[in-house]
Symmetry: C2
Subunit: 213 residues, 2 copies
């Protein structure tokens, strides 16, 4: 059965982006450091057309990111920009050939026609909320899984609604002190999790959790 | 050289105690669940005079808690009670024979004579702040390490001051949603850490960090 799953990197103090995030600094102050473990991997550099890089215990984790994934969901902040789209809407942070290569459903309050880009990535803009986005993404995924991209607020909404089946949290030895807290938006919900596995890698620990039904 | 080190259990959403902590519920609502991995271990049951229990990948972690430790430091909340001591001061949460078996330095604003209990545990009450407590604890430890007991606010103070040398954070698959956030009190400080090792165990992942000098 198609699952909704999350891969996200979190500082040990709970943040997935630093403070003062903007179009120029999408991950906030210090936020790029979160992903140092990932961007140095050969498997990551390959997908960005660069050679070299490392092979280590994080490699299988990064390889699984897009394994059996047929569609993605992300929040508006993660696509880029805010407010109404305007007459010449921005294509977002992800460039002319985004790394997804599958349909991506963007949660927003502002309707917009689908945006088809190079490499089989089409952004669909969903205004009907998280359940509608999940339904559309699962239909588009054709039996494969759906990857939840973030940010923190969107993760909180799916988690609180009991719709997130699985997450791999990559915990890095960084104290950001401020920014977007991954689990800051649970409200009164207390979903139950179980630890599936933990993998030690250079400069990061990957812990996989599953929802307890 | 004598180190200041911390062993603490944290929910994946960053809490080391649940909300609404009181004398009756010292760990707050849901807080006891944090320590399920520990209390079921044979090594823990042994030290409390009980038989049985499990031996698993967490066993060496629990064994190391008091290895080479000559003194402890804790905040007033963790000793128990609040405000002035009164005429018949309470002996705290730890009973007539506390599990420390070494001098324990309690940070408080209220002076009090040392409290000597069974099993070589003496509580000393320090009113001069965290650096004085560390100095006194190191002197009492006689070359061994000093263990920082918590709570979260005290950990934040030592961490922000650059005085915490090492910590093992045991991360459990629990969403407490509210309570005492371990890294909520850093202020503007951004101490640098490195990951030393990570150990997967049943229902918990232990990650050891060291301060980068």
């Amino acid at each position: 059965m198609s699952k909704l799953k999350l891969n996200i990197t979190m500082s040990i103090d709970g943040f997935v982006a630093g403070p003062s995030h903007s179009e120029q600094v999408p991950l906030g102050v210090g936020g790029m450091d979160l992903h140092a473990w990932l961007v140095e991997l050969a498997v990551f550099r390959d997908t960005h057309g660069e050679g070299g890089g490392e092979v280590n215990a994080s490699t299988p984790i990064a390889e699984r990111f897009f394994e059996n994934v047929g569609a993605s969901i992300m929040g508006r902040n993660m696509f880029g920009g805010s407010g109404p789209w305007g007459d010449e809407p921005w294509k977002g942070f992800w460039g002319d050939e985004p790394p997804f290569h599958h349909p991506v459903f963007v949660l927003t309050r502002y309707a917009r026609e689908p945006l088809e880009l190079e490499g089989d990535t089409t952004f669909h803009f969903v205004t009907e909320g998280i359940e509608a986005a999940l339904e559309q993404a699962k239909a588009a995924a054709g039996g494969k899984d759906v990857s939840l991209g973030g940010g923190a607020d969107v993760v909180g909404q799916y988690l609180a609604a009991g719709l997130l089946d699985e997450m791999v949290i990559s915990i890095v030895p960084l104290l950001l002190g401020d920014g977007a807290r991954l689990f800051g938006g649970l409200g009164e919900a207390r979903p139950k999790l179980e630890q599936v596995e933990a993998i030690e890698a250079p400069g990061v620990t990957h812990i996989k959790y599953a929802r307890v039904k």
